[in-house]
């Protein structure tokens, strides 16, 4: 090998004395050439291709709609290649007066239009924006409902929803911890399998919801790819976190900390999932589509209690962590629902929602990878009749309890 390398290297060296061109220059020269070429393309390159054929491409997307009595506020983004000037607007086939914060929107620029229109509660609205070239961009509001004001009472309500949906159910599920300490190891493995099934269901569910939300997005910053970007970022970030914690543990030689670490990762994954759940609840509330009531709270409680169980399952038959640590796990998993509800209700944006749901998926997938060793039997098999039964049971539990809630 060494001889071969040497012979291959020698012709290159013989072609010129070594070190004639400094290494940095070899790197800098192409860089300068690239910058110069790009600058040239930017300034004169376009002209060589001539004018575009056809009329300007005017494409704007509505990112947010706020309904106040007698007023419709819409935030639009230019997602096309050409600047767009919304000249006139009609709502349900009637021209309206409106205020705009800017005359023309450039590529990727945004604009807020405030329309003076006496809309009726419960009716659909079709907003048509007429551009300078006569092109029309339509935006439909399926059911007009006043957008909630972001005041103290509103945040209080969102916080309460988040607590009901995230914190309480997770805490309830964690109450199984003492019981888990008494059951046989083989049952724990089945429980881990059920947790994997449960998390897998959540991942698929989040993916389906994410693609649905991505379709509503303006597209300027991407759609479904945001889901994958979010998932990849979360997955690799958690893998890196896991490796870092493992290295530290090995240094401290603290055996037993591994179980807590897995619980922590499960809690983070579930927390990111609950952030997405909070987003869905908050945004549904904001557009008046959320039926608030006992059924919603009960359904989510039953549904998310299993998540609490999943967090403590890795801790079964291990030294019990302190109550403070357990509470921290519960909050990491449950509290993001509150944050999600805030974001969803106050600043809903399809692209951000897609990205966050993607983050949740990545986290869940990473947790599943973490949990697989815990369900292996003594022969080292991950899949055997009992574990498969556990996985399917996990899926079935979430499927049936999920039927109770629809957001």
């Amino acid at each position: 090998m060494e001889a071969e390398t040497a012979t291959r290297r020698s012709p290159a060296e013989s072609s010129g004395p070594p070190g004639r061109v400094p290494k940095w220059a070899l790197g800098a020269i192409p860089l300068v050439l690239i910058v110069a070429a790009l600058a040239a393309l930017l300034t004169v390159g376009g002209d060589t291709l001539g004018e575009r054929r056809g009329p300007p491409v005017e494409d704007i997307a509505v990112e947010r709609t706020v309904l106040r009595p007698g007023e419709i506020e819409i935030a639009v983004r230019n997602v096309g290649p050409d600047p767009v000037d919304v000249e006139q607007v009609f709502v349900n086939d009637a021209y309206v007066n409106f205020a705009e914060d800017t005359e023309e929107v450039g590529r990727l620029g945004d604009q807020t239009l405030t329309l003076d229109y006496p809309w009726q509660e419960g009716s659909p609205l079709l907003v048509t924006m007429l551009t300078a070239s006569g092109a029309t961009v339509e935006h439909e509001v399926e059911v007009a409902v006043a957008t909630p004001k972001a005041d103290g009472g509103f945040y209080g309500l969102m916080a309460l929803l988040g607590v009901y949906v995230g914190v309480i159910p997770v805490a309830l599920g964690m109450l199984f911890l003492p019981f888990l300490g008494r059951v046989r190891e083989s049952w724990i493995r089945i429980l881990m399998a059920a947790t994997i099934g449960l998390l897998g269901f959540l991942a698929v569910d989040a993916y389906l919801e994410g693609t649905e939300i991505a379709e509503q997005s303006a597209g300027a910053f991407g759609g479904v790819e945001l889901l994958f970007i979010g998932a990849a970022v979360a997955y690799f970030a958690l893998v890196a976190l896991d490796r870092y914690m493992r290295a530290r543990r090995e240094r401290a030689k603290a055996a037993g900390a591994g179980a807590f670490q897995i619980s922590l990762l499960v809690a983070i994954g579930i927390g990111l999932h609950n952030l997405g759940e909070g987003l869905a609840i908050g945004s549904a509330y904001a557009i008046g589509e959320l039926a608030l009531g006992a059924f919603l709270v009960f359904g989510f409680a039953l549904h998310n209690t299993t998540e609490g169980l999943a967090i403590v399952a890795p801790l079964a038959n291990r030294p019990r962590p302190s109550l403070g640590r357990l509470a921290a796990l519960g909050l990491i998993a449950g509290a993001p629902a509150i944050l999600g509800a805030f974001i969803g209700a106050a600043a809903y944006n399809a692209e951000i929602a897609t990205l966050l749901i993607g983050v949740g998926i990545g986290a869940i997938v990473q947790v599943i990878v973490q949990l697989v060793p815990a369900m292996r039997d003594r022969a080292g098999r991950a899949l055997y009749p009992a574990s498969v039964g556990g996985i399917l049971a996990g899926v079935a539990i979430l499927y049936t309890t999920g039927l109770l809630v629809s957001v």
């Binding site: 007698g70 007023e71 000037d85 000249e87 006139q88 607007v89 009609f90 086939d93 009637a94 021209y95 309206v96 007066n97 409106f98 205020a99 705009e100 405030t114 003076d116 229109y117 006496p118 048509t128 007429l130 551009t131 300078a132 070239s133 006569g134 092109a135 029309t136």
Partner: protein, 338 residues
């Protein structure tokens, strides 16, 4: 028209909007042009373009207020036998026009305006209409009325389609008396008409009609996104809401004669409704006796008729399509009776 008071629908409620920000937007943009600035309506007070926005009539090269009472009798001379010959020249021209404030429409026009000139003659006159196609597209002129097949302005008969740069002369006797129209007859027909190639053709009866304040209203619309499904803009004489900002001035008790033509494409019907008054209606204007005393008529595509009205009271009176969707998309205006 400068200096005319802003239109006031309800005397107790002038133009300040319900919402302060809108009122501010309105008064801010309105200043210089006085009556031409759109500040009527808003919210519950009715449809409007963005407050302060106006169409640049000078850039368009025509003003709907002027088109209203602009009748083109042609270059007239009398033949030895006493017969009157009227000669016209109409040039088809592609032209971008502003049909709503800020909204440009790539129109095809006769003589650079939409609608084209209102050609007017007396029954029995000889019409010589030279048509020059200065457009990039093939066009014709097809008149409603009596004429030989060669003068019908349709493809493949007589001069047929007039290609860009070519010209022809349509010659026929003005008959029957009444209110007619002319338009391009090249396919696709709906588009050639909708783009703006139409105008009114008034043929007066020999004995004439009673003295009146006369005006021509061409009900039209613009399918600005070219989807051939309805229109985005509805108007009379092209500019939507124009007579909301510049009411049509008439005198109380004086006979007002409206030559009403429906040139709307992509919608099967149109209608005309006057507030607080009734009118005698002469369908197609081909009889001297009205067939109806009403405050509303409904017209199909290319249908037309004459409305004779006397206002009983002074003040501002709305008129609009009672196909209210069209009204709220631009087809409404005011009479100002003094």
């Amino acid at each position: 028209m400068a200096g005319v008071a802003l239109p006031v629908l309800h005397e107790t409620a002038p133009h300040q909007g319900v919402h302060n920000q809108f009122a501010a937007a309105g008064s801010g943009g309105g200043g210089a042009h006085g009556a031409t600035a759109g500040t009527h309506g808003g919210g519950q007070k009715g449809p409007t373009f963005k407050f302060g926005d106006v169409v640049d009539h000078a850039a368009n090269g025509f003003n709907p207020t002027e088109i209203l009472r602009d009748f083109d009798y042609g270059k007239t001379r009398r033949l030895p036998g006493g017969r009157v010959v009227r000669e016209y020249e109409l040039v088809a021209e592609d032209k971008e026009i502003e049909v709503a404030p800020g909204v440009k429409y790539p129109a095809w026009t006769y003589n650079g305006r939409v609608p084209g000139p209102t050609l007017r003659a007396t029954e029995g006159d000889l019409m010589r209409v030279r048509f020059v196609n200065g457009s990039e597209h093939p066009h014709t002129m097809h008149f409603h009325g009596f004429h030989t097949p060669e003068m019908d302005g349709v493809p493949e008969i007589g001069p047929g389609i007039i290609e860009p740069g070519k010209s022809t002369t349509y010659e026929f006797e003005a008959e029957p008396f009444g209110l007619h129209l002319y338009h391009c007859h090249v396919g696709p027909l709906a588009e050639h008409i909708a783009r703006g190639l139409y105008g009114a053709f008034i043929c007066d009866p020999k004995q004439g009609r009673p003295e009146a304040d006369e005006m021509m209203m061409m009900m039209n619309g613009f399918n600005t996104n070219f989807d051939a499904e309805g229109n985005q803009i509805y108007a009379i004489n092209t500019v939507a809401f124009h007579h909301v900002n510049e009411p049509i001035k008439v005198k109380r008790g004086e006979l007002v004669r409206i030559y009403l033509v429906n040139a709307l494409e992509y919608d099967p019907i149109n209608s005309f409704h006057t507030h607080a008054t009734f009118f005698d209606y002469y369908p197609t204007g081909t009889r001297l006796e009205p067939n109806e005393f009403t405050d509303i008529v409904m017209l199909g595509q290319a249908q037309r008729g004459i409305c004779e009205v006397r206002f009983k009271h002074k003040g501002q009176f709305m008129f609009h399509a009672h196909k209210t969707e069209f009204a709220e998309l631009g087809w409404m205006g005011f009479f100002e009776v003094s």
